[in-house]
Symmetry: C2
Subunit: 550 residues, 2 copies
């Protein structure tokens, strides 16, 4: 779906930059916008101690305030500093956020819950889409709003979860399981969304046959596998090149440049081939943090870790600030003035559909997922299920971009039905981000009290059989374990062990494969390039707090 | 002048992104371009040991090869992957390069030679402009090429030196004096160019009066002072905010984000107010490296140092790769086919004028500058003058952007005279960058043999009176000197001392002022924020090899 958006953005730019007069206005506004970003950082710093706020809500609120101010000073003509450009969003702002998420994600948690994540992201999104579409078609037909095929598009727009919001609301260190499930689902959701959006555009879903369904499922697997493969290849290529050349001997800048360029290239290539750029760049980030990051000099490590995080941070602020500003855009609200009740009704129904749609897959699929797990500690508890449901309710910039793409031309619309859709989307996005976002932190504290939360984190690692822990965890605390001596203490010899602890056994075999074939070629943790006469560098662990291993 | 360019770029984008078909082609080409950038880094790494090559020439040659390949495969229709956009250049590529140069420049050398640099940059550029304009008008009138006012524009285009090329050709560590003179001149040159370009556009230079001249000189000082002031303010503001809030306690990402955003904001504000963005962002970089950089956490220091260098590195590669590709653009060369002799003639004349124009100010102004210096070691020797003349001959992407701006519409031209100007500019840029660029390294070795070069570097610090050295240099090696105890050993009590060593005395008073008023407010080296209960951080000097102090 992202690929299709790229095609539309050219037109938008034509309007935005049409006259030289406007261009100078854009520059003025760009300055204001950058100054506001700085303001967000400073204010966000002061509010950090607050148990309610987070940086995205701060940016949203500042955006809303500025929007109101501009609305007043401009005499009610417009509220935003420049027109929302999907190009800007999908080409410049989204890739750094998703790449950084992959780069900093706790790989162990992500891969342990991999099957559950794919279940949520693929099947869950399909369920959510069906319910929202079905509900929207039937309810809006009675309300006489918009055309008939609107429901499908609304389904596609509101079943596309917003990983960016999730990142802001959940804390990876405080609630690792929740984070990996909700965020991981969001990433897989992107591949599903591409398939669903294409289906909505090209098929008549009312005459939907079984072969169409198989077609779609096949399409999803093709997209998922190719996108992941492309991302992994880009990451491995960067690792191989940097390991072979050992740039660090000469220049840290070259290493960092190669990493940035390769990551961006993977995203752009995925977009070019109509794959899921989000999945690709996410896996590129994972592979780069597992291999490439360990092959570079210590300075490059510090630089990449913080430079990627900073880029992602700026992009997130940018998005939320813009969404806040754009919410007051008067043009769309004019259509709503004569029927405020209808607009509120549409927004409330959409919000309710989003909540129902999410509830319809989180609880049943969690139940399914729990059935496959023997260990009581690994099951998703009821409280966690409620939190997963809740934290994934937010809709953000992705939904906004899709709605603009579908219901406007160059950011403007003259149709009443479309204007109502846009304003409803804005309402849903604002309400879900601010209200759900504000309440997530307290809800986490309420449902997962700190002690339980912490003990759950600690006890999440399987406590029996004991022999499992030493090789799997020892590595994290003791780099000497790399030698492979400690790991050989455990060998799953019986099929029973293999079946009862599938993810750990897969993990074990992955480690074997990684050590035997991947690390010699691509480097990775503990990789010490052999340069005669060069003092080999030791990784400094106090500089690398968040890092962990697959 | 850069400000004017921004106004034209909207139109260019309209062409570039007009059809959705073309947009997908752009994406494909963007991918290719990013892949080529990666290739440049890898090949540049292999060629680093070569005494002839440098990264910019590698990128140029790769660009030329790719251009030829595209020309052949596309059946001779075009050679570039996308149309040169001045917007891209002046908004995205140039600011990081110049900011990084200010951030990493050896401030001591820069400020010691400040008067010489301003002399070269202001008076020198004016002399160069006069000679090139005068020569071009008279010679091209006889050759019957182009219109009459062409000469003035050519003067403006070719008196705008290209700091980016200088950065590539000279090495700050090997030839610090040359580097600071040639590069510093390039930065001041930008402010002069803005004034000259405006003068060419708004005045009729043939009826030029004395009041016009005073007007221009006043204009230059206004631009120089306001641009520098704006840059310094942005830098100081970032230092103050970071010192007050001490972000590092919470987040390295916030500190880095503030620095990036403030630097970019300073450039954009300068462009908005029609000032010299290059001067502004350069001084912003200097102030940030003197104050802000010392207020942040150690991780932020490593990150900013290398992240800025990497961004600058990628931007430079991007520019040279593009220039190489664009050089073969067939559209302009078609006009030249029927009169190749004339085109070669124009190019040679322009190249000769550039060389003469530069010679006419480097040698006389060096002589003037030497007159003011008593110390033999501080004078610019004949060999150094030749190198300054030589290293500043390169014309690069800035000249290309100006020529495109002046002689084409949206990157296309139908006028024969204009096409010849474009092809001549390309020829001059390619020839000067490749030939002069290739020969600079050997020339430095020839004229300044390694031993003399090194001893000159060492002896460049004044060796008498002895009392000068301890306070000024001691600081660099011994952070304890910050306490101000050692510095009080020297007080310039007599006017004779003040006159004979003006720059050192100015430096001394600056240090006094810095310690008494600036550092308490804005932090800086040795700044240790007082946070009760927080272990204060010590700066780690082995992580900071290139840093030095004003």
């Amino acid at each position: 779906m992202w690929a299709d958006l790229g095609l539309l953005t050219g037109k938008m730019k034509n309007i935005t930059l049409a006259s030289s007069e406007y261009d100078s206005v854009v520059n003025m506004n760009l300055n204001l916008f950058v100054a506001l970003l700085c303001g967000c950082i400073v204010i966000g710093h002061y509010l950090e101690e607050s148990r309610w706020m987070n940086e995205s809500i701060t940016a949203l609120v500042i955006g809303l305030c500025t929007g109101s101010f501009i609305l007043l000073t401009s005499g009610g003509t417009n509220s935003h500093l420049f027109v929302f450009s999907e190009d800007l969003f999908f080409i410049y702002l989204l890739p750094p956020i998703i790449f950084n998420a992959g780069f900093q994600v706790k790989k162990k948690h992500f891969f342990r819950n991999f099957m559950t994540i794919v279940l949520f992201g693929a099947v869950g999104t399909a369920i959510s889409f069906t319910i929202i579409s079905f509900g929207a078609i039937h309810i809006f037909k009675r309300m006489n709003v918009g055309s008939l095929d609107l429901g499908d598009f609304l389904g596609a727009i509101f079943s596309a979860t917003d990983s960016v919001c999730t990142l802001q609301v959940l804390n990876q260190d405080e609630t690792p399981l929740l984070y990996s499930l909700v965020f991981g689902e969001g990433v897989v959701n992107d591949a599903t969304s591409v398939v669903i959006f294409n289906a909505v555009q090209h098929f008549d879903l009312s005459g939907f046959t079984t072969s169409d369904a198989f077609n779609l499922v096949g399409n999803f697997f093709y997209l998922f596998v190719t996108s992941t493969f492309l991302g992994a290849c880009a990451g491995l290529l960067s690792a191989y090149v940097i390991k072979r050349l050992y740039f660090g001997r000469h220049s840290t800048d070259r290493e960092v440049a190669i990493m940035i360029l390769m990551a961006y290239l993977s995203y752009m290539l995925a977009e070019l081939f109509y794959l899921s750029g989000i999945l690709t760049v996410f896996f590129c980030g994972i592979v780069m943090s597992h291999y490439t990051w360990h092959n570079v000099t210590e300075k490059s490590r510090v630089t990449t870790k913080h430079a990627f995080a900073t880029l992602s941070f700026i992009s997130e602020l940018f998005i939320f600030l813009y969404v806040g500003m754009d919410a007051l855009d008067i043009e769309k609200w004019k259509f709503v003035q004569d029927s405020p009740g209808k607009s509120i009704g549409v927004s409330s129904i959409l919000l309710a559909l989003v909540m129902v749609g999410r509830g319809c897959f989180v609880f049943p699929l969690s139940y399914l997922s729990n059935l496959t797990k023997k260990n009581r500690n690994e099951k998703i508890t009821g409280a966690q299920q409620v939190l997963i449901w809740w934290a994934g309710l937010m809709r953000g910039a992705v939904s906004m971009a899709l709605a603009y793409n579908q219901f406007t031309r160059s950011g403007h619309t003259k149709l009443r039905g479309n204007a109502i859709m846009i304003t409803s989307t804005i309402t849903v996005v604002l309400f879900s981000t601010v209200v759900f976002g504000l309440m997530t932190k307290p809800l986490v504290r309420l449902l997962l009290p700190a002690s339980e939360n912490m003990s759950r984190m600690a006890s999440y690692e399987p406590t029996s059989p004991k022999s499992f822990i030493v090789p799997l965890l020892g590595n994290e605390r003791d780099p000497e374990a790399e030698s492979g001596q400690t790991r050989s203490t455990f060998r799953p010899s019986t099929l029973r062990v293999l079946l009862s602890t599938p993810s750990h056994t897969v993990h074990y075999y992955w480690r074997m494969f990684d050590d035997a074939f991947m690390r010699p070629v691509f480097g990775g943790r503990g990789f010490v390039p052999y340069i005669p006469g060069t003092p080999t560098e030791q990784s400094v662990h106090n500089l690398i707090p968040k890092e962990d291993n697959i």
